[in-house]
């Protein structure tokens, strides 16, 4: 069975601070990895995804994530956060060749103070 762990449940930062949200997964094979974001009052939307190739992927709004296979990790980063980044962030994994059931982490609530 696959699982996703997001270590930080609540993060509070000041504007311009750097951000790193942890995501670790467990699965016995290759995976597709996603970060989704839910801004207050809005739908969940894709931030970035990794399927194959360059393990450093760039998404919208200056976010990036690095897939480190040896650590089963897919951490989300942003060099300088803005107040508008306040949102809930979810890491998700789908095992390739498996049941196609997506597994989401519990989410990380990010609050950025202006």
């Amino acid at each position: 069975a696959q699982s996703v762990s997001q270590h930080n449940h609540h993060v509070i930062l000041s504007e311009a601070a750097s951000l790193e949200l942890g995501c670790n997964y467990s699965y016995g094979g290759t995976v597709n990895l996603f970060w989704y974001v839910q801004y207050p009052g809005q739908h969940l939307q894709l931030l970035l995804k990794y399927f194959s190739g360059d393990p450093l992927v760039k998404g919208i709004k200056g976010f990036e994530a690095e897939f480190i296979k040896s650590k089963f990790s897919f951490n989300l980063r942003k060099p300088s956060v803005q107040w508008s980044d306040t949102a809930e962030y979810f890491c998700a994994v789908i095992g390739k060749g498996g049941s196609y059931i997506p597994t989401f982490g519990r989410g990380t609530s990010l609050i950025v103070h202006p």
Binding site: H9, H43, L44, L46, F90, I94, Y100, G105, R106
Partner: protein, 114 residues
């Protein structure tokens, strides 16, 4: 183009009543997913459809939950004899294909069981 829509947006019901939640996916998307989002619990996968077929129903919490999809489009999630623990936001998402595609989420149906 139109995104994923869900109805109703909010539903308040009495314990023991049946409820039906509707999802209209993006036109042409063959895969459709249902999730449950409870406070602080992240997204709980319920069921997915490939076309009109639901290959894996093991995510449904109990036999009071059922779902169907007709015409490869609209899907309904039915909860029979609702219980207070069914209170949550029920999210629907669709994607062009399984697994390797971005999921597009609807706004959700907020269900409150009194």
């Amino acid at each position: 183009g139109a995104g994923v829509s869900q109805s109703p947006s909010n539903k308040v019901t009495e314990k023991g009543k049946d409820v039906e939640l509707r999802c209209d996916p993006i036109s042409g998307h063959t895969a459709l997913y249902w999730y449950r989002q409870s406070l602080g619990q992240g997204l709980e996968f319920l069921i997915y459809f490939q076309g009109n077929s639901a290959p894996d129903k093991s995510g449904l919490p109990s036999d009071r939950f059922s779902a169907e999809r007709t015409g490869g489009s609209v899907s309904t999630l039915t909860i029979q004899r609702t219980q207070q623990e069914d209170s949550a936001v029920y999210l629907c998402a669709s994607s062009l294909r399984l697994a390797e595609e971005t999921q597009y989420f609807g706004p959700g149906t907020r269900l409150l069981v009194l």
